[in-house]
Amino acid sequence: MRLQINIVSIAVIALLSGTVAAQNANTQSQHSGHSPDSVDSDSAHAQHEQAGAGHHHEGHAGSPDGGVPEATDNIAMLTVTDAIEAALSKGGEPIVADVLGVVCDFCALAMNKIFGKRDEVAALYVDLDTKALSLVLKPGASLSNEAIADLAIQAGYRVADVRRGKEALGDVS
């Protein structure tokens, strides 16, 4: 009897649930982007704490075209770490991607592993406080928004919005 109850409950849940693959198919990105050389969570975090309070601007980050249940309430700017600062100084394009579902270090690890493999990326940092992925591309490299969204899916997450250039640095004028 227990077996039957267990299997029935599993089957019902499976029927009621969509698959991640289906979710992924519905995900649409809005912009375009690139990939990193180094990821150092501890040193990056130290820098982040120093950079501190100036990371958020009040306002709405916007939402993706479909399939995303919520958008972030704050607009995250690029988190400046040693590696990101060095990559910026070489002329790499800054990108900030708002990522949904990032709540723990395993999430950050997944993003680091997936994006860190890309040749286009000079530096990256996943900020749990702002729920944002900060990327700086190598000079001349490009990474489309669709590619960023696909990479986030490979990591198990979704991108809600992508900002580039001055917008990623907080210059919205």
């Binding site: 227990r2 949904l100 592993k113 900020d127 198990g156």
Partner: protein, 214 residues
């Protein structure tokens, strides 16, 4: 009955094994999971070909009944809900392999299957989780168990910090001597490493879990 169960598990797409922390990784990720509770100890290594499923070998020693399970356990992330401040998951898990006696247990080896559901909802400071498992270990017997967890983080750490969680696990095993038990657990989480230590207040048994992801 066992054949029917296996057929249903396979045909309903069930794959997986209950673990306490994210049983599916990023595409290409490996995870090592050790778990030890009031009844058994286990070691599980899984690989995620994609971000919605994982598979790997698992060894579990049932200390009470003196047998070991050697199985292949797939896990399917059936659904993930995303929010800017939360993540929720529904997993289906299963496994198939061999049950073998240990410590002079005279019973002969037998085929074993298992399956169940895991679900969790988590923010950076709150956690709610549930998992169930039905195990049919052939002549070593069958067992249903399920457990729920509530947890909170006394502080919110940023990327790379040491994250600390205080949790309470309620475990229900209808055929066990103590059918319902409670275990306070402390979870320490930093980067790729997650450690959990607890004590089952009812069964007076320690609990220790370890997860490493790479």
């Amino acid at each position: 009955m066992r054949g029917l169960a296996l057929l249903l598990l396979v045909t309903s797409g069930l794959i997986g094994q209950p673990t306490l922390a994210r049983p599916v990784s990023y595409a290409g990720g490996w995870t090592v999971v050790e778990e030890s509770d009031r009844q058994s100890s286990s070691l599980f290594v899984h690989y995620s070909p994609a971000s919605n499923w994982s598979i790997g070998p698992r060894v579990e020693v049932n200390r009470d009944a003196d047998y070991a399970l050697y199985s292949i356990n797939p896990t399917w992330l059936a659904k993930r809900w995303f929010g800017s401040d939360y993540q929720a998951n529904l997993y289906l898990h299963a496994g198939a392999g061999l049950a073998a006696g240990i410590n002079q247990n005279p019973l002969e080896d037998d085929f074993a299957i298992q399956g169940g559901v895991m679900a969790d909802w988590e923010t950076r400071s709150l956690f709610v989780g549930y998992r169930s498992r039905y195990l049919d270990a052939g002549r070593f017997g069958d067992q249903f168990s399920h457990a729920a967890r509530l947890g909170f983080a006394p502080y919110v750490g940023d990327t790379g910090d040491l994250h600390t969680w205080l949790m309470l696990e309620i475990d229900h095993r209808p055929e066990a001597k103590d059918t319902v038990t409670a275990a306070p657990v402390i979870r320490l989480f930093k980067g790729p490493l997650l450690l959990e230590a607890g004590y089952n207040l009812t069964a007076k048994q320690p609990l220790f879990n370890f997860t490493y992801r790479f």
